[in-house]
Structure formats: structure tokens, C-alpha cells
Symmetry: C2
């Protein structure tokens, strides 16, 4: 009661000015009158949304396992097709044929010093209605692991990222010919077998340590939301930072007759067998490892002393065989044609396939998308027609590797390059704070949208609550910046959901949105990601599902109906300036650190402070870090800033003739395309975007200015120089395009 | 092999200049010729030291439990008395009569939701010859706990420090009428029951979480060195930051006829019963706690989800009764009279009592002290006589509360104020790096001493290896400072060993020395602190025992034989300047943080970002932090810096007449006295030193400029102002004394 009261006071003082100010100020891309009617339409849309629909659809869509190739996957697609049609959309299913391996044999045993056979099974749980659907569940496995049958000593490699192998090197522990056991976390899972194979390992186990999403974090299921001892995390391990989508048809659509790679030549299938296991199955393995004790940062929450292994203390046998079948996937596409500019598309998607029942991942986001589409359908029935075309998509095959979205994008690439203005993605959704990531040309826009949606728990706007969170919990840098900047910074996109082909392959401005932060848990990619789990521990009453439908619905409607597309470039220039500063600082820090480390090694100081009993091997000295010539990027950025300011000045408060609006839109919708380079990134030409990419050695984690940054991180100074030139040219071209837009706006 | 080679090269390049430079430069307090003969004497001393003696004496001294009041405690004292006498010392035992409670009844049960009776016993272990000496072992208990018999709900309070109770307050969890269970660490143990009682708890359990010294850190005993599931940490919980020593005779010696407090009036006995338990005994209690999940920083390494409890989920019954007996303690004092200045004493001590067998604590330090005394005895037999008096001490009753040293200091206070020049303390000793703490007037001196002793493992000096450790592992601040400062900074002394009465009660310049950092373990205050444990996991071949004997032996000999005492004041002034900066910064940070926190609370931002399901209670706003007038301290410090520089200039390279030497010594040996104030610190007048004190709410942890700092930490701005004046006056008086010394040096 007291809490509500103090919040009430707070709302009076702080919120009303925001709302009243917003009511007066025209929306980005709209004139004053159009803004008013847009806001009225949003109010009608909001009023039409019903949380009971979300609950009902989640129950329906997650009632049975619905992974790629399962009967229920197709049933769900057809169910949604029916819904979209009933709401007046021009809907259809587009199908592709993709390689989708499923396990035939899974065996893991500890053969020495004691015998133990891993359970590899997630048992049914009381109070969880779907956890016992054994007949239809995919067992725990990692898709796109190689087949294999190996017996070898075990080595614990922490998260299994490159830095961890440096630590092993200090101890003279070689993983060559051995099976590594890594814990989930610290990188996307597919990085672990990739780096293990690079170091000569013959097999890779990935387990869920209770430190990361088990009892250390909270009570385990079914008492609480966290992963129990038999829970394991399924997931793809294809080398997606090289290319996502069907592993046999890189860059081309996986149609029935597509020219396919031979499976043995498919570069993104792992080189070694890899399997996810529970901590119940990992414990007997880890408990028996010999060798030195691992450093503190490597230790999880199992009640043991963690050792490296790597000697012959513990030996495992591990066998995997897969059915390497081609399976159909079913994307559901639903169009609402634009009345005025039908060839400008606003695309909105969420995947529908799951590893098992997937109530949280992806259904929690999907049902918000459905309700949003229903709301637009309702508006359309009252006579509203969007000026631009709206496309709703429910993607199949996201879990094994963004298959549905990637193949669709590859099939329609030419049309999309011409017509796609913006792609808005969601995936899982939860309770808490709005997370906003994407193209920084849309930063100002999505900030404005977020201000228009109330938070279900506080009576603040979702934007205000996100900002409050940064004020209270942000780093000193974040907090300091908040007072001087009117927009919240949105994140940059790496990978991990269906925006990747749109943004990083084609250069379509994209956003990824979702709520979270207050409903932690450990059901991810397990049989326990169920309706029962979600409605007990997630967004239990679907309040945040509605909030997400509002945020995305407002965004879609504004993008579809604005006089001109609400792109803005000063925030983008500011952001890229930040990335460039980061990279310069990174290089300077590497230079200092390398010099300092070399000095400690050559002077013998490093060696002198090691415990002689630990017999550590000194790191090798590294070549000094040179000074890189960043001026091409600095000059390009200076020009970009100026172009962005000029465009802002040229468009401020301006009302255009219809023809100018069209010309301007035609330029604006393609500006993000200018951030791509047809040659793509080094060693992964599928990734064309020069500002955002998933990290080659982080997986989902983003690398900004990736060509330059990764060359520096890999200490390839020659490539760094080349990439600086490419990135600079990209920014110059982008600035030129903004200049074109500014010139068009002046006509 | 490779490692040795590179170290060899390193030694050629880097070490020789240091050694050769040292061979030329006169020692502090010595002229060139005297330096040479002093160095030769040290070489003779070093050559006489034998590690076999350390091993043999450790085996002898730790062969049976030897706590206060035990037969073997007295036998050890008499054994050492015999040794000292055999080496030519004028030795005697001084005895006091102290209150020493031992357990009569110990019972701990979980009564709900399940029945469990705690084992409260450390079983014998294979391969540990003394762990089964049940008849003589003190059981696991906390000395100076109150008697009690309580049944109440349990609350987990993390480390049980004041900050933890703020976290409980956020959750509306009150410990009033409840039993708290705290984990060891985060403060000295005696703080936990003190703070618990201040908050109304009726009992306090302290357990050893495996995160802190159990399996999380390394393999457990007997496989490894760490604490196993039944190991528990004994220890005193008397409120020693108020006063140490016998709890019934504060400030006066506990002689047979001393006027004693009634036990019920003894202020340092705990207000509530308190008991240490193993994690084996804690697990059933913690596992059954209900209430919310604790924050991440509160979680240990037990395989459970840690909850606060505090509701009626888990209830414990806990009964303690003690024999409140007066027991004799036996200090062994061994004097080697000074030939020239017998009334200037260099005192060197280590305690001899243990909680059980105490091979590490305290015997590892004690045997180094014995060998050192034997070495001096050998020298004396060849005709050497120290110019000043040397006093060796083996203290009894350190474990229950620095009893032996405190009572001896209180008995001889007047004589010591006149005669004591320096006190050098050791306690446990291990393998690794030299730790140096103490009076900063001795910083330069002990740095010089540390350069004269080779490290057993690397061929560097122990000083060089300590410095290398700071270079490699120090914080950026520490590393940056190393290049610009010729001396390693020594630590400030809080409490936890026998230097406290010398330094903080009487103002005798003190040092505390010991090696460590490479022999972690969890035998502390358990039956497993045994000869077998130490010789497997500690300083196994006593190399560092010899190194300690050398460091302390050189220090004692130089202090005893220098022309004038090697005190130096610029390092002290520099250090106090650092403390003052810390305190000013602390106040500024508190001011900013308080304003920022108040703003978040009054604006409702703090409330808005809390998960409403967690039902957190907002913190109360706090009064703004005023600007304090630090100028008296700044001015005093400026004067001190000048006095220190003047003294340095006045004494540089100077040779004095014998009478001047005596005059100068007479002033120098009492300078540290000027850093005391007869009124002591607020609410604890036993602690007289104004620069160093144990923290009122940290226990062993030091508070520098304690009067000022603790007033600020407690937000008592009026007291802070008063304490600034007192500290400033102290520094002015100290500076005046340095001026007197400088004047004497000019005569």
C-alpha cells in the first residue's frame, strides 16, 4: 500500500509532463493532424488487445512438441494461417526443405576410474502437464553435431572460449585427442566445439552448471523456475557466425531442387561430436577429474573441487549417430497491402518452432505478435488501410539455425532489397524491462514508441521504467550519460534470432524487442519450457505480452502510416563514433598490456611470482601492437556527422508534397543497404553488414565495426588496415546517401 | 629446466646490482665500518640456522593439544624455558590468572521442519597422527560466548556485518528473537554475534562455508589441504575491538589478587550464545530455510539454493553451558641484556598456545623465533654482545584474546613505556611472499632488512619477490606506484595477534612479519592443524621458516646494534597523507552517493525498478553529508612532512658522539608514544593509538586514523569534527618530537 502511494506521488510529479508534452509534439514522420489521428488509432488498437487470447494461444501452440519436422509444427503453422486469414490478411505458407538431423544413437559413459552411464533424459515432472510427452519429444542433443564414436580422457575447459585454452596452455595441458567438457555460458554454444576442434579435441560435452541456471540461481523446477539436475539445454551448434540457414545451401534458398552441398563438405557442421548434458550427468565425470585445481573463475556450483583433468584420471566413451534427413519447414506469411505505397514493406516476425513445447521460447513472443496482428485486422475491418504494406511472419526452423527466415530472405532477396523498409523481430518475452536493440537509424523512433506504452506494473511508461533501471542499476558511465541524452541507447544486434538475415545479409534496418529481467529461470531449450512453467514463473498473466503487442503494434502502425519513414541519423553517427572510440581505446589498451606483459615475461618477473609447485609455463611474448591509422574512419565519421545534421536541419518540421514523400522514402528505406559491402566480412561473405555482426568467436555476442574490431582482436594488423579502409568507404557512401535524402527533402 | 634457466638470466641482469649496491651502502643507523661487520655477523647467523631444528620443535610442540589450561601448554612453556636458558638467555616464566571458559554442554538441533542433531565433532582422519587425541582436544566452540538455551526460527545473515542487516531490512526480515546463522569471513568472527545481538537476535551460529575454505577452494583434507565437511573453526568471540586481554581485568594485569569484574558485568563477553559449526552440520539447517532467495553475493558453495529464512520455515534449538574457570597462563620471557644501552629494549614475540595442536598456528612462526634465538645465543657464545637489550617472548593465551601479551604489557606498562624501542611479532608462517605490516616509521628499515634475505624458491631476495608479486598481481594503482617509490608499502596493523597491546595500547613501534600466499588450506583452528598437515601442505621443508628467522633475526640484530635507532619519518608522513586523502575521498563519495540514493528514493525511481513480486522496502533517505573541515589535519600533516624532511637532512650520513647517540635514541624510541592519546578512542579507551586501530565493526581489519574514519563511517559528524582536532593535535605533537630529535642530531 505504502509502495503504491509513493509511486502515485511520483507519477503526479514526473509522469504527467511527459505524457502531456507527448500529446502535443508531433510523432516522427507525421504532421500535427496525422499525429493526432495516429494516436487515436493506437488507443483503439490498445483497447482491442485481450490477454485471454495470448493465454489460449500459448496453451494451444505449446500443447505438444513442435520442432522442425514434427506433426505439430505443421499443425501450428496451419492453425496460424487460419488465424491470419480470419483477420483479413492475405496469408500463405511458404515451405523449404532443410537438413535437420535428429539423434539415432546417444551414449555417454565414464569408463574409468569408475563406470557410469549418463541418463541423457529429462524425466516427467509432477504438475507439468506436457513434460511426459515422451513419444513426441526430441531427446537432448545438439543439432549439427558430427556423428562420432570416441573414447578418450576428459579435460575441463571452463566455457571453452579461446582465452580458456590459454589458461590450459599455462599448465601444459593439451586437449589433442581428448574429450573436452565445457559449461554452458561465456559464449554461444556453437563456439565451444569449434574452438575445441581447432585445438585438436575429438569430442565436446556441454553441461549446464548449477552456477549458471540451476540451484545457485534459485529453486529448481518444479519448486522454482530453475534447471534441475536432469535438465539439459538442446540447441544448434552449426557454425552460424559463418552463415545461418540451411547448412547445405549457403546463400541460396533451400527449395526442393536447390543445388545442395554434399553433407561432408558442409562447412558449418561441427568437426567433432558434441552433446549437451545435465549437471546430474556431468557430476560423476567432473568429480573424477585429476590434475591441478582450476582457477576461481572456472569453478561452478557443484559440490566438488573442480580440476582440469587432461591426465588419464577420467576417461569417457561417447557415441552419437544422427538421422541426416531433409525435412520441410513452414513459414507463415500474412500480408496487409499498403493502400498508397504497397512496395514499401514493414515486416514483423517471430519464430514458431521450438525445441520441445517452447511456451517461453518462442511462443511467449509469438502470441504477442498474433494478438498484434489481430488488432490490426480489427482496425482494418473498421475501414483503416495502412499506407505501406505490412507483412507478418511466423518463422519455422529458427532453433536449428534461423532456417525459416534465412531461406525466405534468400529466396526473396531481390524483392526485399527493393521493398523492405524495416524488419521488427521478437522472440521470447517475459516480465520486467523493455529491451531495445537494432539499427541506430531507428533509435530515436523506437524511443518515441516506447514512451507511448504504459508499464503494467508501475504506471510509468515502459520507456520510463527502462530508464529508471539504468539510473538505479546502470554503470557509472551509463548513469552519467542519462542526464545529457534524451534517448536511451539501444543495443547493437549480434545474432540469435531471425533479424540476422534481414539486417546482416541484406541490410534492412531492423529492431529486436522484448521484455525481461524479472522472471529468471532455467527452462531454456528443455522439456520444462512449458505452459505450466511459463504461467507459474514467467509473464504469468500475460501483462507483458500485451505490452509487447502494444510496443510492436505502435511501431508497425507508425512505420506503415508515417508521411515519411522516421529514420534519423545523428544518433547513428553518435553511436558509430562511440564504436570507433572503443576500438581506438581497445588498440591502445592492447598495446600497453602487451608491452607490460612482455616486460614481465622477459624480465623473469612473471615466472618469479608463480608457485614453483604449480609448474606453470610462461606465456610467449607477443609482437608489439603498432599504431594503426584510424584517420580514414575519423574523417568518414566527421562527414557522416555533418550529413546527419544537415538532414536533420533539412527535414525539421517540414511538410512535403506527395511526390517528394515518395522520393524521400525511396532513398530512406534503402539507406541501411549502404552499410553493407557485397564482399561481406573476411572469411564469411554471407555477412554483408559493416557495422553489426555476430562475433566469430562469441557467436550471438555482437561485434560492432566487425571487420576492424576482429582483425585487431586477432592481432592481424594488415587486415585491420584494409578493414579500416572498407569501413571508412562504407560510412562515406552512407553519408552520401543521407546527403541525397537531404537534397530530396529540400525540393 | 627452462624455467630455471630464464630465472638464472634474470638473476644475472637484475639481482646482482641490488646485492652489490647493498654491499656498499651503509645500513640504516650504522656507519660504513659498523655496516660491514654487521653484515658479516648476519652471514654467520644465517649459516648457523638449521631447518631440522624447526621440524623437530614443531613435532615436539604440536604433539599434543596445548590450549590455555592444558597440561601440554605448560609443558611447552617449560620446554622453551629450558631451550632459552641453554642458549644463554636470562629466561623465566611469568604467569597470570585469566578467565578461560570451556564447554560443559553443546547441543544444536533442527527441530522443524525435520529433526536433525548436529554432530559438532571433528573425527580422526587417516594419516593424521594427532587428529584422534580426543581426550585432550578442546571441542569446537567459541570462547567467551554467553551461556544460553534458545529455540527460535533461523535467519541466514551472510557474513553478519552491518551491511547485511540493511539487506535484511529491504526484505522486511527482522532477526529479533531469532537465531542467526552467519558464514565465516567478511569480518572477524566476534563481530557477528555483536551485530546480531545489536539487532535483537537470541543466538548466533557461525559455519565454515565450503566457498571460503572448503572444497570450492581445493581438495579437502586428507586428500588436500582444505576444510572437510566436519571441520569447524574454533575461536574467541570476545569483543576485542573494545579491549583484548583477560575479560575480567580490563587495563590492569590479571595477577592472582587483581580486582576482577563480576562475570555478568564483563563487557566483552557476548550477549547471546554463539557456536561455530561445520558445513556438514550447517547444510540441513540452510537447506530448510524458506523466504526469498538471497542476493548473489550472499551465496556460498553448498549445493542448495540459499534462502533468508526468517519465517517459521526452520526452527533450531541450541544450548551452551560453559565452565567459567580461572586458568593460569605461562608467558616465557628470555632476555639478552644490552652491553651499552640496557634500557633500550628490542622485543620479539610469537605466541605458543593453540586451539588444538596448532602446528601452523602458532608453531610454524614459533619455531622460527626459537631458531632465531638459538642463532643469537650462538653468536653470543662467540663473544658478541648486543648494544641494546633483546627480549624474546613466547606468549600464552593469544587464541582466547591476546591474553599473555596483553597482561604482560599491562603489568610492565610503566617500564615498557620507558624502555621499549620496537616490538616485532610473528604468528603462523607459510610458503610464498613476505608480508610486512606495522609502524610506518619502520617502513624504510624493514624494506632494507627484506633486501638482505634470499627467497628460498627463486634466488631473488624476499623483497624482490614481494615486489615482483605486486608488479604482476597488484592493482593498477599499486603497479603504477612501484616505479616511483623505492620502498614497498607496508600494511597498517589492525588486530589479530600479539602486537596489539604494544602498538595500540602503549604506542611502541611494532612490526608483524610472515610469509604466505602459496600454501592455502582450511585447517585454521581445527584439530587438523597438525604436524602431518603442515609438513604435507605448508612450508613442508621449513625453507620459509628459515627465511623468517633470517628476516626477523637481521631486524633484531640491526635494531640492537645500530648507532642510532633506524626510525625514519618521511615514509610515515607520506603514508598518513594517503590516509587523509582516503578519508576526504570517502567523505566526498559518501556525500555524492547519499545525494544520488536519496534522489532515487524520493523520486520513486528506486521503487519503480524493483520487482513488485519481491515486495522490497525502500531504504530510508539519509541526512546529507556535510563538508567537514579537514584543514587542521592538512596543516598538521604539512608540518609533519616538513619535520620529517628536516630530520632526514639533519641526520643524513652523520656520525654522532656517544652521548648524542644516547640522547637521540632516547627521543626516537618514544616517538611512537606521541601517536597515542591518553583518552583513547571513543567508547574504547584501552586503544590509545590515533593512527592504527582494529575496526569497531570489522574486528581484525585495520582502521587508519580510526577516530576520524569511524565517526565518518557512522555518520556522526560532530564526533568527526572532534576527532579531526584530536588527530591533528596528535600529529603536531609527533612533529614536535621529530623536531626535538632533529635538534639533538645537530648537537
Amino acid at each position: 500500500m505504502r509502495r503504491l502511494l509513493s509511486l502515485g506521488i511520483f507519477v503526479c510529479i514526473f509522469m504527467n509532463p511527459v505524457f502531456s508534452q507527448m500529446a502535443e509534439k508531433p510523432l516522427m514522420g507525421f504532421g500535427p493532424d496525422a499525429s493526432k489521428s495516429q494516436r487515436e488509432r493506437e488507443a483503439k488498437f490498445d483497447a482491442s488487445l485481450k490477454r485471454e487470447n495470448l493465454r489460449e494461444w500459448m496453451k494451444r501452440l505449446s500443447a505438444r512438441p513442435h520442432h522442425v519436422g514434427s506433426p505439430y509444427d505443421r499443425e501450428n503453422a496451419e492453425f496460424m494461417l487460419g488465424l491470419f486469414k480470419s483477420w483479413g490478411f492475405d496469408a500463405q505458407i511458404e515451405s523449404f526443405d532443410v537438413l535437420f538431423p535428429t539423434p539415432k544413437t546417444r551414449l555417454l559413459e565414464l569408463v574409468a576410474p569408475e563406470k557410469f552411464t549418463a541418463r541423457l533424459d529429462e524425466p516427467a515432472v509432477a504438475g507439468d502437464a506436457t513434460s511426459g510427452q515422451k513419444d513426441e519429444q526430441l531427446p537432448t542433443y545438439n543439432a549439427f553435431s558430427a556423428d562420432g564414436d570416441v573414447t578418450a580422457p576428459l579435460v575441463y575447459v571452463n566455457y571453452g572460449v579461446p582465452r580458456d585454452y590459454e589458461e590450459l596452455e599455462r599448465r601444459g595441458i593439451d586437449v589433442k585427442g581428448k574429450i573436452v567438457i565445457a559449461r554452458y555460458g561465456g559464449s554461444w554454444r556453437g563456439i565451444k566445439p569449434k574452438v575445441a576442434a581447432e585445438h585438436g579435441a575429438v569430442g565436446c560435452l556441454i553441461y549446464s552448471d548449477p552456477r549458471d541456471d540451476g540451484y545457485f540461481q534459485g529453486d529448481v523446477y518444479p519448486k522454482g523456475a530453475y534447471r534441475s539436475e536432469n535438465g539439459a539445454q538442446r540447441g544448434s551448434v552449426a557454425d552460424m557466425p559463418v552463415f545461418p540457414g540451411d547448412v547445405l545451401t549457403p546463400g541460396i534458398p533451400a527449395t526442393k531442387d536447390a543445388k545442395r552441398l554434399d553433407r561432408k563438405d558442409a562447412p558449418t557442421i561441427t568437426k567433432i561430436p558434441v552433446m549437451p548434458i545435465s549437471y546430474g550427468d556431468a557430476l560423476p565425470l567432473l568429480r573424477n577429474l585429476g590434475g591441478p585445481v582450476v582457477p576461481e573463475a572456472w569453478r561452478g556450483a557443484l559440490p566438488i573441487t573442480y580440476h582440469f583433468g587432461g591426465d588419464d584420471s577420467a576417461k569417457a566413451h561417447f557415441k552419437l549417430e544422427f538421422n541426416w534427413d531433409i525435412k520441410p519447414i513452414y513459414d507463415v506469411l500474412a500480408k496487409m497491402p499498403g493502400a498508397e505505397r504497397p512496395d514499401e514493406w514493414i515486416i514483423r516476425g517471430n519464430h514458431h518452432d521450438a525445441w520441445v513445447n517452447g511456451a517461453d521460447d518462442p511462443v511467449s513472443g509469438l502470441v504477442a505478435l498474433l494478438e498484434e496482428a489481430r488488432g490490426l485486422g480489427e482496425l482494418a475491418k473498421t475501414g483503416w488501410k495502412p499506407r505501406r504494406t505490412i507483412v507478418y511472419a511466423a518463422w519455422d526452423g529458427e532453433e536449428p539455425g534461423l532456417l525459416g527466415s534465412t531461406e525466405w530472405v534468400e529466396l526473396h532477396a531481390d524483392e526485399l532489397k527493393n521493398k523492405a523498409a524495416v524488419y521488427i523481430n521478437t522472440d521470447s518475452n517475459g516480465r520486467g524491462f523493455l529491451g531495445m536493440s537494432g539499427s541506430h537509424t531507428l533509435e530515436k523512433f523506437i524511443n518515441e514508441v516506447a514512451k507511448s506504452v504504459p508499464d503494467p506494473q508501475t504506471d510509468l511508461s515502459v520507456w520510463e521504467r527502462s530508464r529508471a533501471n539504468q539510473l538505479v542499476n546502470g554503470s557509472p558511465t551509463v548513469r552519467a550519460e542519462l542526464s545529457g541524452r534524451s534517448d536511451l541507447r539501444i543495443g547493437a544486434l549480434g545474432s540469435g534470432s531471425d533479424y540476422t538475415p534481414f539486417l546482416q545479409h541484406l541490410g534492412i534496418a531492423s529492431l529486436n524487442l522484448g521484455f525481461g529481467g524479472e522472471d529468471g529461470g532455467g527452462s531454456y531449450h528443455s522439456v520444462y519450457d512449458s505452459f505450466d512453467h511459463f504461467t507459474r514463473f514467467g509473464d504469468t498473466n500475460f501483462d507483458y505480452g500485451i505490452a509487447l503487442a502494444r510496443v510492436c503494434g505502435h511501431a508497425v502502425m507508425r512505420l506503415a502510416d508515417a508521411d515519411t519513414l522516421p529514420f534519423e541519423f545523428t544518433n547513428f553517427a553518435d553511436t558509430v563514433g562511440g564504436y570507433l572510440n572503443d576500438i581506438i581505446k581497445l588498440t591502445d589498451t592492447m598495446r600497453d598490456d602487451t608491452a607490460a606483459a612482455n616486460q614481465l615475461i622477459t624480465s623473469g618477473m612473471w615466472q618469479a611470482v608463480q608457485d614453483p609447485k604449480a609448474k606453470l609455463i610462461a606465456p610467449k611474448t607477443q609482437k608489439p601492437v603498432p599504431y594503426l591509422n584510424f584517420t580514414p574512419l575519423q574523417n568518414a565519421l566527421a562527414r557522416l556527422r555533418e550529413s546527419a545534421r544537415n538532414y536533420q536541419a533539412a527535414t525539421a518540421g517540414k511538410k512535403y508534397a506527395p511526390a517528394t514523400e515518395r522520393t524521400l522514402d525511396g532513398i530512406l528505406m534503402k539507406t541501411e543497404r549502404m552499410l553493407t559491402n557485397p564482399n561481406g566480412l573476411p572469411r564469411r561473405d554471407w555477412f554483408k553488414h559493416q557495422i553489426y555482426a555476430p562475433g566469430f568467436y562469441t557467436g550471438y555476442g555482437v561485434k560492432t565495426l566487425p571487420g576492424v574490431r576482429e582483425a585487431i582482436e586477432q592481432r592481424d594488423w594488415i587486415e585491420a588496415g584494409r578493414q579500416i579502409a572498407i569501413a571508412a568507404e562504407t560510412l562515406e557512401n552512407f553519408a552520401a546517401e543521407i546527403d541525397r535524402a537531404a537534397a530530396a527533402a529540400k525540393n
